[in-house]
């Protein structure tokens, strides 16, 4: 649609180029554009699509000499092995609990923060709040987990000392199976909430002031303004971001989980991604690990399709 609009405004010489061309003639006419896009296509093709082709390893016996795609067919043997493994339900549960909690809390928190920052009167205070809240986004995961360990240290940590003021004993939160998910999620919100709120603030800044005016004439109070003017205006942004995050729901933070893992919290912190790393890279069971990884990816994809379908029904917005 936009393309016809653009074409209509183009001078004749350019408009003619849009007439139908065979692939060969097209390449010869636009060879420079092809040349510009080619390196990117090459890198993505090699580093993203070749591994996709290599997924067939999940259905083959890995053979060191035959490489990625040369081993004997093994059918669904490795999937069966995974489903029968005592780890299956634990991994599935841990992965789901961590991902879904992070998704829900991590999705809602930036929206709330953006609505709050939007309420701050006074440009300077607003800027201070924004600047401060998205600072942690740029601290690396390793440092974040390092800070967690320092603060949550059961004898010398900052939090332990705060707890002591209230007469509480220090607990080893990083080794506590019931505290792992809350610690993981809260620190995640701490790190990314401000950053993720920027896009909502941008959407809020485009709200037509007349809408506020009209709502006030109707007697809306502040909370009602937020509820009936601000929130509807960011729904499209919410939907797009929700779909994008849903697609990666089971990919949630290998790095952070891996770094936070210890023998005490392992029953709740072993997720599919960390297990694939251990089985595949550390104990070189390549075929088995590929099968587990593929299982993960397929579930991701199902989530994405579901999210997209829901989004389309709820708000007329969808990725495709």
């Amino acid at each position: 649609m936009t393309e016809t609009l653009v074409a209509a405004r183009k001078p004749v010489a350019v408009a003619q180029r849009r007439s139908r061309l065979g692939l060969g003639r097209h390449v010869s006419r636009y060879w420079q554009l092809w040349l510009m896009v080619l390196p990117a296509v090459g890198f993505i093709g090699l580093f993203m699509y070749v591994p996709m082709y290599g997924i067939q390893l999940a259905f083959r016996e890995f053979d060191f000499t035959a490489g990625l795609t040369g081993g004997q067919w093994a059918g669904l043997k490795y999937f069966q092995q995974f489903f029968d493994s005592p780890m299956f339900w634990t991994l599935l549960r841990n992965t789901f609990v961590i991902s879904i909690t992070t998704l829900v809390v991590g999705f809602v928190a930036p929206i709330v923060l953006a609505l709050m920052i939007n309420q701050i009167a006074g440009g300077r205070r607003k800027r201070l709040m924004q600047t401060a809240t998205y600072l942690p986004h740029f601290i690396s995961i390793v440092v974040i987990v390092g800070m967690l360990q320092a603060f949550l240290n059961p004898s010398t940590g900052l939090l332990t000392q705060v707890a002591a003021v209230f007469g509480l004993d220090g607990v080893n939160l990083l080794g506590d199976t019931s505290a792992f998910v809350p610690v993981y999620v809260i620190s995640d919100v701490w790190q990314h909430c401000g950053w993720n709120s920027i896009i909502y603030l941008a959407a809020l800044s485009r709200v037509d002031p007349q809408l506020y005016e009209a709502a006030k004439v109707d007697g809306a109070n502040r909370l009602q303004l937020i509820r009936h003017v601000d929130v509807p205006s960011i729904v499209p942004t919410m939907v797009v971001l929700l779909i994008l995050t849903m697609g990666g729901v089971l990919n949630t933070g290998f790095e952070k989980v891996w770094l936070m893992q210890n023998t005490l919290n392992l029953p709740v912190s072993e997720v599919i991604a960390t297990y694939v790393y251990k089985i595949g890279i550390l104990s070189t069971q390549f075929s088995y690990a590929t099968a587990i990884g593929l299982f993960n990816t397929v579930i991701n994809f199902v989530f994405l399709i579901a999210a997209n379908a829901i989004a389309r029904r709820v708000s007329n917005w969808s990725l495709w």
Binding site: Q119, I141, V142, W190
Partner: protein, 307 residues
């Protein structure tokens, strides 16, 4: 933005009791959030120069006490930090240069409406955001390409980030005046010439934004070093940090200079060293941050323009 702000101010003139309560609760909430975000970072900084025994007894709150730089001395004496720093600097600079060389022309080509394959190509790129081959096939591919234990593994595989590509394409599509292109085409300028001589000079904003995104991505990369590199001399800063911060690997200098002073001494200063390492490794970003943050913000805004 300013319009709504004037708006809400005008609204405040007639304060109802409800508004006063709202303002009070709201103000307190904002201060609490600000404190929760900033204080941990501040605490790390003062803890890195305070007497560690005062920290462990909870006497350091607002200001550093019994300032000493023993931790930093140990850090600066340790080779691993410097190797890591050097490696990360190299990977970040070379990696970002390649990122820009690959991403910018591709984004430009994909932004030209008369370039018909662009729809298919965009699908080709975007698909990889939702589906990938997974860790093991990727690992085996790198092995076959000889990228394991090779510094190029930090540079080549992440050459294109699809999100950044989309952001850049959106910028080219919406921010370059169409008339300029038409005028140039009438003058018989080729796409490559137009890109190099007209488009790029007008795109400093997007170049700096995605350049920064890529730079931070390289700077914080931990995964690549963990999975694909065994050789210590190639490891980036984040892996060195992991060793010191999380794996409690004895500090090379600390153990030696401690000499006869015993285990308690080392243990005590281990914490101070950790706080110091956090500061030293995050410092570049924290110092640059006030100057860079408006670029980051701009990047998100450009990216939110629907392409």
């Amino acid at each position: 933005m300013s319009a709504t702000h004037v708006q809400s101010k005008g609204f405040l003139r007639k304060k109802t009791p409800g508004d006063v309560v709202f303002m009070l609760v709201f103000g307190l909430l904002c201060v609490a959030i600000l404190f929760a975000v900033v204080y941990p970072v501040y605490f790390v900084m003062i803890a890195s120069v305070s007497n560690p025994s005062l920290i462990s007894t909870g006497e350091v709150w607002l200001w550093p006490k019994e300032v000493n730089f023993f931790g930093y001395q140990q850090i600066f004496d340790d080779d691993r930090i410097w190797t890591g720093y050097g490696n990360t600097l190299l990977y970040s600079v070379v990696g970002t240069a390649l990122n820009l060389v690959v991403t910018l022309p591709a984004a430009y080509a994909l932004s030209r409406p008369e370039f018909r394959p662009r729809r298919v190509l965009m699908l080709f790129f975007v698909f990889t955001l939702f589906f990938n081959g997974g860790l093991i096939p990727t690992y085996l591919l790198y092995r076959d390409l000889g990228l394991l234990d090779n510094w190029l593994v930090f540079i080549l595989p992440p050459a294109v980030n699809v999100y950044n590509l989309i952001i850049t394409r959106a910028f080219f599509e919406h921010s370059l005046p169409k008339e300029l292109f038409e005028a140039a085409m009438i003058d018989g300028v080729s796409y490559l010439q137009y890109f190099a001589k007209v488009a790029l000079p007008l795109s400093k904003a997007i170049i700096s934004v995605i350049g920064l995104y890529y730079l931070v991505q390289h700077w914080n990369d931990f995964f690549t070093g963990l999975v694909f590199v065994r050789d210590n001399s190639l490891q980036p800063l984040q892996i060195v940090l992991r060793d010191i911060l999380l794996s409690n690997q004895a500090f090379a200098g600390g153990a030696g200079t401690g000499g006869g002073s015993g285990v308690g001494y080392d243990q005590q200063y281990a914490d101070q060293i950790k706080y110091g390492v956090i500061v030293v490794s995050s410092l570049p970003v924290l110092v640059l941050y006030p100057f860079l943050q408006r670029y980051f913000e701009k990047g998100v805004l450009i990216g939110s323009v629907k392409g």
